[in-house]
C-alpha cells in the first residue's frame, strides 16, 4: 500500500516538474470562433501546420454555437477572460475598436499599403488611422444555386442570365397540386435568409437606385428604384406565382429537399449542399438587371488580436494571425469551408475561376458591395416587415418601402448619434 502511494506521488511530482518546465518555454494562445464544422476543421488544419512551423507556440481553439457567439465574445473580452485571437463579423468590429478591446495590427508586420494592394477592396473598411484593426481569411458572396435535375426535367438549358429570364425559368419550374397549392417553387424567397441582401445591394441597384449614402448612415432607397425593386421581388409571389414566402419553412431547406428550382444563397452554403445526398446542383452568377447592371453582396469574418494578449502572447497571436491570413491558409479555407480567399492573388487563380462551383462566387466578388450594418438583424427585420406588409396586408410596394426606409433610418440614427 505504502509503495503504491509513493509511486503515485513520484509520478505526480515528476509530471508537475515536466509541465512547469514546458510552460516556461512554450506560449499558449487561445483562438475563438463560432461552431461550424467545416470552419472548425479548417482552423484545426491550420493550427497543426502553424504549430509544426512554430513548435514553441500552442494554439487552443474554442468554439461556441453561432446563436451565443456574439454574446459570449462581448461578455468575455471586456472581462479579460476571452481569446487572444478572435474571429469577429466585420460589422461588429467598430464597437470593439471604440471600446479599445482590439489591438491594432503593428504597421511593420502588417503594412497598410501592402494590405490595401493585396486584399479585395472591401477589406479597406478594416483600416483606421493608418493601421489595420483586423484581417479576414475569407470573404463570401452570393450566387444563384440551381437544381440541375429539375432543370433537365423542365427542359431548361441553363441558369437565367437576367431578371426577366429568371421569371420565365422559375415559371417553368413551379409545380402545383390539384387545389392550386404550390408543391415545388421555381425560386425560393424569404427575407430571413439571404434575400434581404439581394434586395438591398443587388435589386435596388439594378433598378437604378442606391440603397444608402457612401457611409451607410443614411437610407436612400425610398424612391422609384426602391419601390420597383420591391415590386419586382413581391411580384414573384403575387403576380407570377413562382414562389411562396416561408415555403417548407426555410428557403435552404426547400432547395436541399429538391423542392425548389433556384435558390439565392452565400458561398458558405456550398459545404452543406455538398453533403446532401441525391441533390444535383449548379451555381451561376446572380442575374443581371434590366440595363445589364450586375451587383452582389459580400461579407466577411475578420481575425483580430485582443488587448488581453500582451508580451510574448501578443507576439504569438500576431504570428498566428499573419499565418491564418496568408495565401496558403486562404486556399486551405477555400478547400475546406468553401469560402472565398480574401486576396485576389489567392482567389483569382485560373483554377479557382474556372471552378464550376467557386467560379461564379469569385466573379461576383469583383462587383460586390459590403453593407455596413449598425444592427444587422434589426435592419433585416425592416425589410422582412416590408414584405409581410405587402403579402399579408396588401400594402403597395411604394408605401412598404417608405415605411421600411423610415424604420431603418431610425435604427441608423440611434446607432450613430
Amino acid at each position: 500500500m505504502k509503495s503504491w502511494k509513493n509511486t503515485l506521488m513520484g509520478i505526480t511530482a515528476g509530471a508537475t516538474i515536466a509541465l512547469s518546465a514546458g510552460a516556461s518555454q512554450a506560449v499558449e494562445i487561445e483562438y475563438w470562433q463560432y461552431f461550424f464544422e467545416a470552419r472548425v476543421n479548417a482552423i484545426d488544419t491550420l493550427i497543426e501546420k502553424f504549430e509544426a512551423e512554430n513548435p514553441d507556440i500552442t494554439v487552443n481553439q474554442t468554439t461556441f454555437p453561432y446563436a451565443d457567439y456574439r454574446t459570449k465574445v462581448a461578455a468575455a473580452i471586456p472581462a479579460g477572460e476571452g481569446p487572444d485571437v478572435v474571429q469577429l463579423f466585420y460589422g461588429w468590429l467598430n464597437d470593439y475598436v471604440e471600446a479599445e478591446l482590439i489591438s491594432p495590427l503593428p504597421v511593420d508586420a502588417f503594412p497598410p499599403e501592402q494590405i490595401r494592394a493585396e486584399f479585395f477592396p472591401m477589406v479597406q473598411a478594416m483600416e483606421k488611422d493608418g493601421q489595420y484593426m483586423a484581417l479576414p481569411t475569407a470573404v463570401r458572396s452570393l450566387a444563384l444555386f440551381y437544381n440541375t435535375r429539375l432543370f433537365e426535367e423542365a427542359g431548361i438549358d441553363g441558369p437565367p442570365k437576367t431578371l426577366d429570364e429568371l421569371i420565365e425559368t422559375a415559371a417553368a419550374l413551379t409545380k402545383t397540386d390539384a387545389a392550386g397549392n404550390i408543391t415545388q417553387v421555381g425560386i425560393t424567397t424569404g427575407m430571413n435568409a439571404q434575400d434581404h441582401h439581394w434586395v438591398r445591394e443587388v435589386l435596388i441597384r439594378q433598378f437604378g437606385g442606391d440603397p444608402y449614402t457612401g457611409d451607410y448612415q443614411t437610407v436612400t432607397y425610398n424612391d422609384d428604384a426602391g419601390a420597383a425593386a420591391l415590386q419586382w421581388y413581391s411580384d414573384l409571389q403575387n403576380k407570377h406565382g413562382v414562389t411562396q414566402a416561408g415555403f417548407m419553412d426555410e428557403p435552404q431547406a426547400a432547395f436541399k429537399a429538391g423542392r425548389a428550382g433556384m435558390h439565392i444563397d452565400g458561398s458558405f452554403r456550398i459545404g452543406a449542399l455538398n453533403k446532401t445526398r441525391g441533390l444535383k446542383w449548379g451555381v451561376a452568377e446572380l442575374p443581371a438587371g434590366p440595363d445589364g447592371t450586375q451587383s452582389n453582396y459580400s461579407s466577411y469574418w475578420v481575425n483580430a488580436v485582443t488587448t488581453k494578449a500582451e508580451g510574448e502572447k501578443e507576439a504569438a497571436a500576431l504570428k498566428f494571425l499573419a499565418f491564418i491570413t496568408s495565401d496558403e491558409a486562404m486556399q486551405i479555407w477555400l478547400d475546406t469551408v468553401g469560402e472565398l480567399p480574401a486576396k485576389p492573388s489567392a482567389g483569382l487563380t485560373d483554377a479557382n475561376r474556372a471552378d464550376p462551383v467557386f467560379g461564379p462566387f469569385i466573379s461576383g466578388l469583383a462587383y460586390a458591395k459590403t453593407t455596413i450594418f449598425a444592427n444587422e438583424s434589426g435592419q433585416r427585420q425592416v425589410l422582412m416587415d416590408a414584405m409581410q406588409r405587402i403579402l399579408l396586408e396588401g400594402e403597395t410596394p411604394e408605401n412598404a418601402i417608405g415605411i421600411a426606409a423610415a424604420e431603418e433610418q431610425a435604427i441608423l440614427d440611434g446607432y450613430y448619434k
Binding site: A74, D177, D249, N375
Partner: protein
C-alpha cells in the same frame, strides 16, 4: 467557542437558525437581489456591453413610451395572459374533474396528461411549427388539402399567429394544472359530498356550492402561476417564429422576446433593462394581488 457556551438555549437556537438561513440569504442577495438592483440601475444608463456605461437619465423610459413596437408587444403579452390563463384553467379543470371520477387505468391516464409538461418546450415548439407549415410539409394543412379544404394560414397571419403559438403553450401546461387540480379535488373531505347526497342535492349544485369554493386556494395558486407563465412566455414564440422572431409584423412578439432582441441583437443593454423593469413591475403587481387574494381572513 467559549462565547457559544455562555449563550442561553434560546440564543443558541437563534445562532443555529441564522447559520442555516445564511445560505439562502446569501444566495438571494448574490443571485437575485444584486442583479435585480443592477438591472434597475442599468435602465438609467446606456451600455453596449463593450464600452463604458454612460448615464442616460430617463431617456430609455421615454423611448419606451414613444415606441409603437413596445405598445404592440405590451398588448400581445396581455393577450397571451387573458386568453391563455382562463382557457387553460377551464380545460384542465374539466379534465381533472372527470379524471378524478375515472378508476380505470387512472395512473396511466394521469401520466399521459402529464407527459407534455415534461417535454422540452423547444422540441415541442419545433414540432408544432412543423404541424403548422403550409403544403407540402405541414401536417394540418396536408390534412386540410387532402379533404379539399383550402389551407389555413396558422403562423402566416397577423391575426391567427398568436393563437397558433398560444395553443401548444396551453397544451403543454395542462398536465401540471391537472395534477394540481386533482390534488385539490382529493383534499376536499368526502363527508361534504356524502352530506350533500343525503340531502339529495344535484351534481351541478355540488360543483357550484362545494367543489369550486373549496378549490379556491388551488384556483388562486394556478391563476397566479399560469399568469406569470404567460406573462413570461418566450420559448414557444421564439422557437416557432425564428425565421421572423415575434412576427409576422410583431403580431406574436411578447415582452420577453423584445427584451432579448434589444439586448442580444441590438446590444442596447440600457433600453433592454428598462423593458425588464417594466416586466418586473407587472409581475410584482400580479404577485402582490395573489398575496392580497389569498390572505387569511
Amino acid at each position: 467557542m467559549n462565547w457559544y457556551r455562555k449563550l442561553s438555549i434560546k440564543q443558541k437556537q437563534v445562532v443555529w437558525a441564522w447559520s442555516f438561513l445564511a445560505i439562502p440569504v446569501l444566495f438571494y442577495t448574490v443571485i437575485r437581489f444584486y442583479p435585480t438592483f443592477g438591472a434597475i440601475v442599468l435602465s438609467f444608463q446606456n451600455w453596449n456591453l463593450l464600452g463604458a456605461k454612460t448615464w442616460a437619465g430617463l431617456e430609455n423610459y421615454q423611448r419606451l413610451v414613444a415606441d409603437p413596437v413596445f405598445w404592440k408587444v405590451f398588448s400581445n403579452t396581455f393577450i397571451y395572459l387573458l386568453l391563455g390563463t382562463p382557457i387553460s384553467l377551464v380545460i384542465s379543470f374539466v379534465i381533472a374533474y372527470h379524471l378524478d371520477k375515472v378508476n380505470f387505468l387512472h395512473a396511466t391516464i394521469r401520466a399521459m396528461y402529464f407527459l407534455p409538461f415534461m417535454t422540452s418546450a423547444v422540441a415541442m415548439a419545433w414540432l408544432w411549427r412543423w404541424f403548422y407549415q403550409p403544403v407540402p410539409i405541414g401536417l394540418f394543412n396536408n390534412i386540410l388539402s387532402s379533404l379539399g379544404i383550402s389551407q389555413f394560414p396558422f403562423l402566416n397571419s397577423t391575426f391567427w399567429a398568436l393563437p397558433s403559438v398560444l395553443a401548444p403553450a396551453v397544451w403543454a401546461g395542462l398536465g401540471f394544472q391537472i395534477i394540481i387540480f386533482m390534488a385539490g379535488l382529493r383534499s376536499i373531505p368526502q363527508s361534504y359530498y356524502e352530506a350533500a347526497q343525503i340531502d339529495g342535492v344535484g351534481p351541478w349544485t355540488i360543483l357550484r356550492e362545494i367543489t369550486l369554493p373549496l378549490l379556491k386556494p388551488t384556483i388562486v395558486f394556478l391563476v397566479v402561476f399560469s399568469s406569470i407563465g404567460f406573462l413570461r412566455i418566450f420559448d414557444q414564440v421564439f422557437n416557432m417564429t425564428t425565421n421572423d422572431p415575434g412576427g409576422p409584423l410583431n403580431s406574436t412578439k411578447p415582452l420577453v422576446l423584445m427584451i432579448y432582441d434589444t439586448a442580444f441583437n441590438a446590444f442596447n443593454m440600457g433600453y433592454a433593462a428598462a423593458q425588464t423593469v417594466v416586466l418586473f413591475t407587472i409581475l410584482l403587481i400580479v404577485s402582490l394581488l395573489q398575496l392580497y387574494v389569498m390572505r387569511e381572513r
